[in-house]
Symmetry: C2
Subunit: 403 residues, 2 copies
């Protein structure tokens, strides 16, 4: 039921500290919405937290989560490695001076010409989950290191991975044998528990399946030395997650339980967990409308929607914290985007609240929006330009109006 | 079940004539995939068919369906009017020399500054479905003509319209009264039966609701003179539809049954029905993989997916005719896109067939792909550039390699 008139409450301090919020307000003040603003200090903090909580793991940042040049540069300078999805990302990283020895070509779906291109540019680490792709790697990236992706079900995650990626253990076993015969170097195994995974036990499952395959392959003379546990680390959305520290300590326990004192090389591929919380989308209320005389809920249209960067609101999978900068009594609303597409509804089952005092033109702040937003936005659907992205200035300065 | 070895059959002549197909093959030959190629002759044919089958209707082309400059220019020269969703589309049309008297601002979700911008540029026709928006129109586009959108359920359509657009009759009734009091000119009513509507009777429902409101408002001294029956006209996808001629004759019958001999002004807003069949996406097989030893279906990855322009494959809503240019025995497959996003699967419930003889690097032709594809494509998801779009040359010439 629509609990009309409940006082508006939003746990702002759960998502941002007051100093940052005032810098974002100031940056946003004279700027036309919508746009994404990313705080690089938070990316740095996040990277350092991964290093501190999981000192046993090497970070391969999943570039696709947020490919802004400035984000890559910060991570480059911190010493991060990079999980690369396409040759376009490779070109970007090379342009930014990242050495190919710090990259892995993590996409299991690749053209032969792309494999050759990565090899030519110096990349020597490839991921695979099929004979066909492994053969292509052997042909076009001879002698490279290869790791194999185990299929997972991804239950417990907000954005589960489908059966599109990974293969079953028996196929992976044969793949490792074949890769050796083809002159590749079988390096290790990977899995991905699904993005924004809330059930930490899923890592345990993946790790023990990997350990089992390590053993089977050792009997065949193949000594794998790497386990890539992917991503799935939490971002700060509406639904609570366990803290990163718990993820880290549990994963460490799982690893030692299966591998004993001496761990293999451990790789992690955070994307969302690295950048989501560093980004805020600033949006504006375009229209507040009642669709029928006795309609329970008003429709609130923002100037950003599913095709402007919020595609992960599909089926309301990712529930962003959305903050209206007003106080007082509030109501439950339906939130939608600005395009003429009927699918462009953000939330109608999960109800957000908005203060009665909100008016057309007021700002709405969408927190934890630094991952999988800008790069997804459509090139010109309904004529809208792609979402603009900025870096939050360290010292807020009054900004000239952009129109 | 996977009917292995059935001979491959694709009703190519249902989607394209041999001469056009050979021109597309030639155009595609030396060009890097994926891309969309649009045959402007077919746009012209389609426009003329709307005019011929529905001579009582004025065409307002829904620009968002395919906003390519060349498409707009063809329709401009044929005398079409335009349904405009945003000020970006308005700017484009003005740049292409379309007079504002040929435009309607059909999006019910608009910023006040956008209304003012349209008015300033000379647009005098606005659509609305809420008091809030009507007030904004009165404030920023005084004296303009306004029409009101009735809510529909969109059942029977492949891409149904949600409750996001339109309002119930009682609200529309009051909205018309209010608009008059605010100095606007209540012009007519609109509805939209949903895109790719297969149940023609849905138009009857919309028309009779409109007629009822015409009568009610006449009693209040408001004489509406226009009915906008939107789009929903068929494109040639996998599932059969009735021919456009049947849509036209049935709609004509519905109109006369409700309005008698003298029809109000009738507007139609074809988008998909105008451009879908004129476009072919040429794609390439990136990888064919078995995901498990005893997997029934192989996974076929194309170099275009949900985020490269095929977003309407969501929930497999739109089933494009996909043609593999090979013959012989065939098998059922799962079709997916090239990105690292697990959601980027095109079809896994509806099974497409592919000849066994298909190999990595072979072409796949996606027909009826001229609407709601290119403009939706993401700006750089996974680093992929947006889908390229071309116009099919009238006389095929050998084309230089693009790489």
């Amino acid at each position: 039921m629509n609990t009309i008139d409940e006082t508006y409450y939003f746990p702002l301090d759960r998502y941002i500290d007051p100093e940052r919020m005032s810098r974002i307000r100031e940056f946003a003040q004279s700027r036309e919405t919508p746009f994404l603003v990313v705080d690089l200090d938070l990316i740095k903090e996040r990277y350092e937290r991964f290093q501190k909580t999981m000192p046993f793991a090497k970070v391969y940042y999943a570039v696709k989560a947020n490919p802004m040049d400035e984000v890559i540069e910060v991570l480059r300078d911190l010493g991060s490695n990079f999980d690369v999805a396409t040759r376009y990302e490779l070109d970007q990283l090379l342009r930014l001076g990242v050495d190919p020895s710090r990259m892995s070509y993590g996409n299991t779906i690749k053209k032969r010409s792309d494999i050759a291109y990565f090899f030519e540019k110096g990349v020597r680490v490839f991921c695979s989950d099929s004979f066909e792709d492994t053969q292509n790697i052997a042909d076009h990236a001879p002698g490279s290191r290869i790791f194999f992706r185990l299929i997972t079900e991804g239950s417990g995650s907000d954005w589960p991975l489908s059966r599109k990626f990974g293969a079953h253990s028996d196929l992976i076993f044969n793949l490792a044998l074949r890769s050796r015969d083809l002159g590749l170097v079988p390096w290790g195994l990977s899995f991905h528990v699904g993005s924004q995974q809330r059930d930490i036990g899923q890592y345990d499952d993946g790790i023990s399946r990997a350990k089992y395959l390590f053993n089977c392959l050792r009997d065949e003379g193949i000594r794998l030395s790497m386990i890539n546990i992917g991503g799935g680390f939490p971002a700060n959305y509406v639904d609570p997650t366990l803290p990163m520290e718990t993820y880290a300590s549990e994963i460490k326990r799982f690893l030692h339980e299966d591998f004993g004192d001496v761990l293999p090389e451990v790789l992690i591929e955070p994307g969302r967990g690295m950048t989501a919380d560093a980004g805020v989308i600033v949006s504006e209320i375009v229209l507040v409308a009642k669709k029928s005389k006795n309609g329970l809920y008003r429709w609130v249209y923002l100037d950003i929607g599913m095709f402007g960067g919020l595609i992960e609101t599909f089926n309301e999978a990712i529930r962003y914290p959305i903050y209206f900068d007003k106080t007082g009594k509030s109501e439950e609303i339906i939130l939608a985007g600005p395009t003429c597409d009927s699918m462009d509804i953000l939330y109608q089952n999960y109800r957000y609240r908005m203060p009665h005092s909100c008016r057309i033109g007021d700002r709405a702040y969408i927190f934890s929006a630094g991952a999988y937003t800008q790069s997804y936005s459509s090139v010109n659907f309904n004529g809208f330009p792609p979402l603009e992205a900025f870096v939050l200035p360290r010292n807020a300065q009054p900004v000239a109006t952009v129109s």
